[in-house]
């Protein structure tokens, strides 16, 4: 038998943009086993939220992750609205859906660019980044910011779509319809890109279901799941959003990195269609339930209850649960389940039988957002404590925690 080696990748690695550690067991060049150690950038966001009121937490939620910032605040404010029974005017819902789609566009293009960068295809990376700047401009026209937009608030949105913004959005859609195809063609027609991504990091349909993959990662394995389709929120009920799976376009779902690329590219086109529909059907009226933040806070102080919300973020479903107690201004507790946490579980499966050189590509292929994932974890390993928790113990601890929170 060949000797086995263990190679660590990360926490700081040239192929990774965020700190995460993976120990890969190698036989020659082949990966036979993998251990992933998260928790490097855990900041305790959910703990911090307990000392802040819901309006302040919006800004904290936005900084869970810089790429899907609007998805997180939408999920958070929807959970708060659910708990407090605050209605959102239709125009506010449409603007939220528009911003969510713009965010999906920029996130998918960033990922497509970075995926090309991971396989050393720098010209395609630069092309993807040029394309992405257009949607960043539109977000800047809408909100004044490029990354953390500050668009959402409890009961609606803060910025309206003026004729100037509408013109910018229309122009962006036209630009992408004309300019996005060459990028798609360059990457998919390229034999080297094909060879680097096809049959690499495969996740079968069964494994995607077994390990609970979500979002584009699951759809690339052929699982028809999309919360915009199965449980529409905001304005999505007005449009017919169907999950994009490779078998509909190419006859077969391989579940490899190339399929994940194709799914994201087709979702860009889908988002453009949705943006068009949003702009056509934009209703008139208020954009926010109550403009005065003090009045909103007074209403939230009286509210009592637990609110829940799940939305389709660019990486998969993002769920937030919030509890508000009457007479308490602050958020009593808040739980976030980000899509990367669900997707990271399938990393060890994807690594198996692949080559070491493909490891950064496979890590990047689920579009990991480590900062989303790491908010409240027990990082025993960080203290040098190697004790592993069994499933039974974890279940017991979770139940104890739930009881403790419910009792409060």
């Amino acid at each position: 038998m060949e000797k086995q080696y263990t190679i660590p990748i990360g926490p700081v690695h040239v192929g990774l943009k965020e700190p995460i550690t993976a120990w890969l067991d190698l036989e020659g060049e082949k990966i036979v086993g993998a251990t992933v150690r998260p928790g490097a950038i855990h900041r305790g966001i959910e703990f911090m939220a307990r000392e802040r009121n819901p309006i302040q937490v919006i800004y904290l939620a936005e900084r869970i992750c810089g790429i899907c910032s609007f998805s997180h605040i939408t999920a958070f404010v929807r959970a708060v609205e659910d708990a407090a029974g605050i209605p959102v005017p239709p125009r506010g819902q449409y603007i939220r859906a528009l911003t969510l789609e713009l965010e999906r566009l920029h996130s998918h293009m960033l990922w497509a660019g970075v995926a090309c960068y991971s396989i050393g295809f720098d010209s395609a990376f630069n092309l993807g980044m040029v394309l992405r700047e257009k949607v960043m401009d539109v977000l800047e026209v809408l909100s004044g910011n490029r990354v953390n937009y500050g668009v959402g608030t409890i009961g609606g949105v803060r910025w309206d779509i003026t004729p100037k913004v509408a013109a910018a959005v229309r122009e962006m859609v036209k630009y992408y319809r004309a300019e996005f195809y060459p990028f798609y063609e360059i990457v998919t027609e390229d034999p080297i890109a094909h060879a680097r991504m096809r049959h690499v990091g495969t996740l079968s349909y069964e494994d995607a279901l077994r390990y609970g993959a979500v979002g584009p990662t699951a759809r690339a394995s052929g699982v028809r799941c999309d919360l915009r389709h199965s449980s529409p929120y905001e304005a999505y009920a007005d449009f017919d959003v169907t999950p994009i799976v490779p078998q509909d376009y190419y006859g077969k779902a391989y579940g490899d990195v190339f399929d994940r690329f194709l799914v994201r590219v087709h979702e860009v086109y889908q988002s453009l269609d949705i943006v068009d529909k949003i702009m056509d059907g934009l209703p008139e009226g208020d954009i926010v339930w109550e403009k005065n933040a003090t009045k909103v806070l007074l209403a939230l102080k009286k509210a009592e209850g637990t609110g829940w919300s799940a939305i389709e973020a660019p990486r998969g479903d993002d769920s937030h649960v919030v509890h508000l107690a009457a007479g308490d201004e602050n958020v009593t507790w808040w739980k976030v389940r980000a899509p990367t946490y669900a997707n990271a579980v399938s990393w060890p499966v994807m690594f198996r039988e692949n080559e070491l050189a493909d490891a950064p590509l496979i890590i990047n292929s689920i579009d990991p957002c480590i900062s989303c994932m790491e908010r409240i974890l027990t990082t025993d390993v960080g203290r040098g404590d190697q004790r592993l928790l069994t499933r039974k113990e974890l279940l017991k601890m979770s139940r104890e925690k739930t009881r403790r929170l419910m009792g409060k």
């Binding site: 965020e18 700190p19 900041r43 900084r63 810089g66 980044m129 040029v130 900062s371």
Partner: protein, 154 residues
């Protein structure tokens, strides 16, 4: 001194390495945007490199979590002298929204010496380029003092 002046005196190609010490990713995607064709720092001779051992400038993002403290210190010590550290983003400078977290050792200047702060949450790509260009002056001063020291020894 204005920015044009900094770039005029740019005596060498700056090689930049990055370290994410727990940021929300917002600054990191803006750093990626600076190497993209719209902002293109390579036209100024700057380049992102993969290893700290080749780098002149260390760009740090994030408020430094307990796990990353030791790693950040090691990356800093792996860089050859003269070197400068640029902090990108508010959270690396002061903690920003994360100021009450139990898992932070930061801000960055509690761990390693910092030369330039770039503010913003996240800063625009132009601001990041300006921050790195400002590091040039510091780098030149360090270089001069190192050379003087070497002459004194020999």
């Amino acid at each position: 001194m204005n920015l044009a002046k900094y770039l005029e005196i740019l005596p060498k190609s700056l090689w930049v390495t990055t370290c994410n010490s727990g940021s929300c990713n917002g600054c990191d995607i803006e750093i990626v945007a600076t190497i993209s064709p719209r902002y293109d720092i390579e036209r100024l001779g700057m380049k992102l490199v993969g290893t700290p051992r080749h780098a002149d400038v260390l760009v740090v993002t994030g408020p430094v979590t307990k796990f990353m403290t030791e790693k950040l210190r090691r990356i800093y010590h792996q860089m050859p002298d003269p070197k400068v550290v640029v902090v990108v983003g508010n959270c690396g400078a002061s903690g920003d929204v994360f100021y009450k977290s139990y898992n932070l050792d930061g801000p960055v200047d509690r761990i390693i010496p910092v030369d330039v702060y770039v503010h913003g949450c996240p800063p625009r790509p132009e601001a990041i380029i300006e921050g790195v260009a400002k590091a040039v002056l510091k780098l030149e001063n360090l270089k001069a003092s190192l050379e003087a020291k070497e002459e004194a020894v020999s």
